[in-house]
Symmetry: C2
Subunit: 288 residues, 2 copies
């Protein structure tokens, strides 16, 4: 329990947007360069391993944005609300040091996302679990070895919050899932569809935030990623692999981030939501 | 009128967030590298000059995200709403090719922001005017020569939309301007204040999106940037210069963007709003 109560990050509520923002003070110290890969053997063995399988090792992030706390310590500071950055920050590492994620065992990766999700979703102070993957320096990956991250925290990410709100508003107005409407339209149009199998569809959305943004949706309406079954995991691995392969060959190994968008695990119901992955390549920056 | 009706960009409304998103097809073609500076003499003389003073030249952006259109052509496309990217996209260039903006005549720059703002705010299809400045490659500036941009468009930028909504919600709940609350608190606390003069205060906000984010506020509650007077322009130039100088010396010439946040010019009233500048340095990327 040496530092369980030591707050290395703080959550501060933005007065204007109402978003909870993480102020993580120590993360700036994390190493930019390293001679040997810290995620390969033997270096990885020095880490505290949370779980492992044949293909994957899960460790705690050495520079966590959130860490276990015995108390949220929610309080006011001037006009602001503030609380501890309580939660879990795990790194999910493929044992194979492959330069490209699509060449690795993605079924094992997705299975680990689900397993770690399920192991944390009912923990104290955990209301949302973010799962994401950064590839390439421009996308913020300081280590080349393929690794995803999982953050379990007491607050819902602002991006997800807007996605949930938008989805709920659309449902109230149209009695339909907004994501189902888009999926159905893309399946009919076929213009932007990159790949499809029995469970998943992959397309470049008609309205996107960055060039070549890719989204992977379950074809059926499903709010909760963590309920995915084995055959769906297989098909998701396939859809993700095809997406990353296309990105690699069409754009020439761009940096990218991908994020899981799924319903919060805060005890409320989110039947209007439709979980999916968003892949955002870094092809250029807003410029003029 | 050769290409007035040719739509080189399109506005598409995101079904989930309700944000209007610009899909600008030709902007990817803009040059990444150029041997001679296109914003210095004589190259700049080949451009169509919109206006100029002793210190500043305003030209049309060669690769505009928005351009004049005779019709918005608002229509439905599948489940989506779509319209033309009607508007104006100007580049505001300091004649002096200085590597650092803070070394140039910022009063002239601010005066031009206001002048161009006033000249476009009552034009057809103009509901919002964005003013921003990118410095450094990482911040999306493809040309080193200091230049700001001004976009006048029929839609309100999503970031500004959220800022306006948050500000309005806070006002309805507390009968106070949320930005005044923050300004007053920072003036009392003094911890995060970087600079202050009779009209403006500069501080690092308690809740910020990026490390070393800086905001410049008029101390008095004012919603509309375009109503700034000469003595305020002088003090704003001073506050902006001090901010950029601090950024340069403390962080060692980081790339940065700054944005004007001001009330829309869509004919509605925004008395709850408080205009300001947000300066966002690119010190690192979200990483793990």
């Amino acid at each position: 329990m040496e530092s369980n109560n030591q707050s290395i990050s703080e959550l501060r509520k933005d007065l204007v947007s109402g978003d909870w923002v993480v102020m993580a003070k120590t993360r700036a110290k994390r190493p930019e360069k390293s001679m040997k890969c810290p995620f390969c053997f033997p270096a990885i063995k020095e880490q505290k391993i949370i779980s492992q399988t044949e293909d994957i090792i899960v460790i705690g992030n050495k520079f966590p944005a959130f860490r276990p706390q015995s108390d949220l310590n929610k309080h006011e500071y001037g006009p602001f609300e503030v609380m501890n950055g309580a939660g879990f920050h795990e790194v999910i590492i493929l044992k194979e040091h492959s330069p490209q994620l699509y060449e690795t065992n993605l079924f094992a990766l997705i299975e680990t996302y689900q397993k770690q999700y399920l192991s944390l979703m009912n923990r104290k102070f955990v209301d949302y679990i973010s799962v994401f993957h950064n590839h390439g320096k421009l996308a913020g990956a300081s280590i080349e070895h393929p690794h995803s991250q999982l953050i379990a925290s007491p607050v819902i990410d602002p991006d997800i919050h807007r996605s949930l709100d938008g989805s709920e508003n659309y449902f109230q107005k149209h009695q339909q899932c907004v994501h189902c409407v888009m999926v159905d339209w893309e399946r009919k149009e076929k213009i932007r569809v990159l790949y499809e199998n029995s469970d998943f569809i992959v397309f470049v959305p008609f309205v996107s935030r960055v060039a070549y943004e890719i989204r992977i949706f379950p074809k059926e309406h499903k709010p909760y990623f963590e309920r995915i079954n084995d055959s769906e995991k297989n098909n998701l691995a396939d859809a993700l692999q095809q997406s990353l392969k296309k990105l690699y060959f069409v754009l020439g190994d761009p940096a990218y981030n991908f994020f899981l968008h799924t319903a919060p695990c805060d005890g409320k119901t989110y039947e209007h939501y439709h979980w999916h992955f968003e892949i955002l390549p870094k092809t250029s920056v807003w410029a003029g």
